[in-house]
Structure formats: structure tokens, C-alpha cells
Amino acid sequence: MSWIREGELNLLEKIASNVLKAGPMPKHVAFIMDGNRRFARKKNMERQEGHMQGFNKLAETLRWCKQLNIPEVTVYAFSIENFKRSKEEVDGLLDLARQKFERLLDERENLEKHGVCIRVLGDLNMLPLDLQQLIAKAVLTTRTNNKCFLNVCFAYTSRYEITNAVREMAWGVEQGLIKASDVSEALLSECLYSNNSPNPDLLIRTSGEVRLSDFLLWQTSHSCLVFQSVLWPEYSFWNLCEAILQYQLNHKSIQKARDLHREEQALQQLEADRACVADLLQHQGNGKPADAKRRQEALQRYSVSREARVQDFLQALKQKRNNFFFDLYSEAVSA
């Protein structure tokens, strides 16, 4: 089945959607699509069929998000922990992924028409090579689309993602691009797999479980969390509206908390810069304490040079990541 489910909202759904759109709408929604296997058991189907239904529901949900003007969606498709499942189930899931990414390539014109950009986030080198190559093709093919964004977390856990970001910063230090003292919350965020996306405004988990299961732990620290008991393959437009309403009810207080956190972050950066500058002046100085004006100028210069270093490092990181996909793609093409 297709990635794009064509269809229109019925009258009632259209009215509901217009009412919701009168209020603040999330620009990025994340889904933990839980409940495929329980759905399969409930309907006496094979597990694999449950996962297929789950994928169909994903396509339908993407259409609803588009119709609600939600431009970005992130989904938890396959966790690194899921490798612990039976070989049969893991192979089934990887095969489903192969099917879907191949289908994606077939539909590339349709995806371009709708402006859909697909990104895959995770430790992709844990996957079989042929799947990595398919993913690389899919990502590169839709790279220039920019109307809506679908981020698929595959072979992903948040802890691996954060650790990878730390490793990348350490690599930057090794390459002499940045200093260890440049490490900050903002820089870490830029090194995550999700660095091209704003943080999710809303995180929805279906099937009644009330945990995050190692999904976007860093990015959702100030997101609205909605836990719904419906099983993923049974998710409806009204369930989505309910979740968006929760977001709207919480919007002001979460915004306040986010702003508070941003202020604290800025203060911490300033403190860190000051400490570095004080260190520098001490080394350069002649024993006399520097006057306030000199300190201020030094601080200004230091911040600017730090920013420049960081930008160069991020460019290099971007290049490294693009090369990863290009190499896979050219391997696939030449094979």
C-alpha cells in the first residue's frame, strides 16, 4: 500500500479541523505507533498483518496532518531494542521496511507533487546493507522536497542518538574544529539526528502505555505528552483532534516553561563564555586585573569566534552525513 492515502475530510471532520485551526496548532507532531501486535491478536490476524495495518494507518495519519496544516511528523518505526524480538518477527519487519522504501521510490513523482521530504533517523549501520542503500536512495530522492517532512526513526533509541551527538562533538575536538569548552546544550541539539527539525510540539503514544521507551527524550523535554489508549491501527481522525486539543489546553503553560528554560540556557552560555574569557585574560595579562571595558570587549570577541568555530564544525558534520548517504547510494547504483 501507498505512502500517500488520497482522500478528503468529510463535512464534520472539516468543521472540526477549522475549529481547531482557530487556535495554536502544533508544527511538529511525534507518534509512538504502539499496538500493532495487540490489534493483530484482537482481530485474529498474523502479527505481520498487524504491522501492515499499522503502516496503512501511518499513511492515513500523514494525510490528516497535512489537512490540518501540520508540516512535520516524526514516527518511531523500529527501536534498537526491537532487535531482541524473534528472528522471524525482526526479519518480517525489515522486509516490510524494504517493501515500503521500494514503494516510496516508485512513488517519487507523487511525493514530489505533494512536496514530501523523508528523513530516516537512527544508527543505520545496524541494518542490513541492502536496506541501508534503499534508505539512502529514498532520503536523497526526496531531499529537495520542502512542503512537509516525515522523519522515520529506524534502528533508533534516544540514548544512542545523544551518545552519537557527544561522539560527533568529540570528533570535532579531535579534528581541531571546536574546543571542549564549546560544548553546550545548543551544540548538542545541533548534533542529534533530528537537527534539521524543530523540537516536537506534541508527542502522542497509542495503546495505553504511559512511557517514552527511549524516544526523543532530549527533544521532547518541553513537549505536550498525550497518552491515548486506542491501538495504533485503530487510530482515528477524532483521536488526533483530541490530542491536538490537549496541546492547545497546555500551550500557554508549556510555552512559559520553554521560555524559562531558554533564558536559563542563555545565562549558562554567558557564564561559560565569561569563564573562558577570564581564563584567557589571566594567561595573556600582566598580573593586573582587566577593567570592565576590556573584559566586555574580550567577551564579545570570544563569543563571535566561538560561533564561527561552531558553524564551521556543523558544516563539516553536515558534509560527513551527506557523504554517508552519497556513498551508500553510489554503491547501490554501481552494484
Binding site: 477549522n18 482557530a22 531482541k84 505536550c224
Partner: protein
């Protein structure tokens, strides 16, 4: 047309907020058992969860001593044993303005009485963190009130945020209380990252050596914080508000409408909810 939708939206939100306020008002009234028949009927319609009719509820917060205290302690301990599983670390997350120290102290004491060995308290403004000693005093006072104990018998260890106590055994026999703030969240992760990058800068290790378990050990040991199995969130805000991002990967989140005048039943309900949840851990 846009104006009409705008009005409808405002109406919808107002209705939801009224419903929420009504539900918490009714909950408070029913707890005091002074509600009229009409209030009970409306409550039954709006509150699908069964309401306990334990008449001891109101008395749970009143001071006791002697054998009365012993029997109450025994009851709470039995309650803990009756659960299928009890969390080792419970996080109390207050997502409300102007937190009440007495109510939080009560919650901490109840947690410990039921058998939870590690309790952390968090609010995203860092109010508890800034008034750490006040909270400690309040906990000691409530221990006296609720459990009828003097300080020495039921020792509580207050972990400070000094950060230098790496030799502490985290799962100690004495119940432990930890006060957390947003600094223990992302900021701690950044500090650990900076430390690792410094060691790379000093050629003490290579970037390829950095692993998940390395970072995990650093984050758990530096401030003696284990992963909470359960976080009880108080207040209407549906967000973790910066609470320990690294540590909450498998944490169950249970919401309680408010921490003000919270009852033992509210807490026990959350523990029961935790007791029946099934963690498949990816499988």
C-alpha cells in the same frame, strides 16, 4: 467564517477547562464526604474511576503516636507488599505554581512507609532545590506526625547535590530523598559531554571510545541518580518540563490532578497503576 470558528474554539476550550475545574472540585468535596446527593451523581458521571470509600482517608493526614502509629505504619507496609511490583525510585514531579511543602513532605513520607527506597522531588522552577533545607525540615516534621517517629528510628538520607559523593551505594538500606531541578537534566548531560570532550582534547581517549554505557555510568554516578521506574506528575500540565531526560527512557508516567491536599489514596492509586503495567522492553 474565521470569526465563527474562532468563537467556537474559544467556547470548546472554555468548556473543557470548566469540566476540569468541576472534576477537581467534586473530587475534593467527595473526599470530605460532605457532598450532597446531586454532587455525588454528577461526580459519578464525570469521574469514571471508582472512588474509594475508605473512611480513614481524612484521618490519614492527622498526627498520631504510640500504637496507633504502629498500626498505621504496618498497614502502609502491608499495602506496599500487596502490590505486584514496587518501584525502587519514585519521582514526584510538581507541575503547578507555588508548590506546597507540607503536601510534598506527606507524599515523601507515604512513599517511604510503603517501601519505596528512593524518592526524588522535582519542579521546573527549581523551588524545592532552592529551599532544600525547608523541605528537609518539613519531611522530618511529617515523619513525626504521620509515623509517630523521632528522627533517628526511620533514617532518611538526604542526598545533596554536591556531586562529589561517588562512593555512595545508591540502593542503600536507608530510604533516600533527592531534590532535583532542571540543572540535573540536560545541563548534566552537557557537563558529562564536556568532560568527555576534555579528555579527548587531552588525548586521554578517542572519540570512538565514547559509548552509551560510558555516558550512562557518568550520569548515574556523578549525582547518584538512578532511573526512576515511576514518575507521579501533579498538576494539569502534560509535559516532563525538563525532568531528567536521560533517565526517563522506561519510566511510567502517572498523572494526579493536583498535589494540594493530596491523599494517600491518590499516591497508592499511582503505585497500583505502576504495579500492573507490563514492560516488554522492545520485545
Amino acid at each position: 467564517m474565521a470569526l465563527l470558528y474562532g468563537l467556537l474554539w474559544r467556547l470548546l476550550l472554555a468548556l473543557l477547562r470548566i469540566k476540569r475545574a468541576l472534576v477537581s472540585w467534586l473530587r475534593a468535596r467527595l473526599r470530605n464526604r460532605s457532598g450532597s446527593l446531586w454532587e455525588r451523581v454528577v461526580a459519578a458521571l464525570l469521574l469514571p474511576a471508582a472512588l474509594s470509600t475508605d473512611s480513614q482517608k481524612k484521618l490519614e493526614r492527622s498526627p498520631v503516636n504510640g500504637s496507633r502509629a504502629d498500626s498505621r505504619r504496618a498497614q502502609w507496609l502491608a499495602d506496599g507488599r500487596a502490590l505486584e511490583k514496587l518501584p525502587v525510585h519514585v519521582g514526584l514531579m510538581v507541575a503547578e505554581e507555588e508548590p506546597s511543602f507540607t503536601d510534598i513532605a506527606n507524599l515523601v513520607v507515604w512513599c517511604m512507609a510503603v517501601g519505596v527506597s528512593y524518592v526524588s522531588v522535582y519542579d521546573h522552577h527549581g523551588v524545592f532545590h532552592k529551599n532544600n533545607s525547608r523541605l528537609q525540615e518539613e519531611i522530618v516534621r511529617q515523619q513525626q506526625n504521620l509515623l509517630g517517629l523521632d528522627g533517628s528510628k526511620y533514617n532518611v538520607e538526604f542526598l545533596s547535590n554536591g556531586g562529589d559523593e561517588h562512593q555512595h551505594c545508591v540502593v542503600s538500606c536507608r530510604p533516600t530523598v533527592k531534590v532535583l531541578s532542571p540543572e540535573d537534566g540536560k545541563h548534566s548531560i552537557v557537563q558529562a559531554a564536556r568532560k568527555l570532550c576534555h579528555s579527548v582534547e587531552n588525548k586521554e581517549r578517542s572519540s570512538k571510545d565514547i559509548s552509551v554505557s560510558m555516558l550512562d555510568v557518568m550520569l548515574r554516578e556523578s549525582k547518584n541518580i538512578t532511573d526512576p521506574e515511576l514518575v507521579v506528575k501533579f498538576g494539569p500540565v502534560n509535559s516532563t518540563l525538563g525532568f531528567l531526560p536521560w533517565h526517563i527512557r522506561l519510566t511510567e508516567f502517572v498523572s494526579v490532578p493536583s498535589h494540594r491536599n493530596v491523599s494517600y489514596e491518590d499516591l497508592y492509586g499511582a503505585l497500583q497503576r505502576y504495579g500492573v503495567c507490563q514492560q516488554r522492553l522492545g520485545q
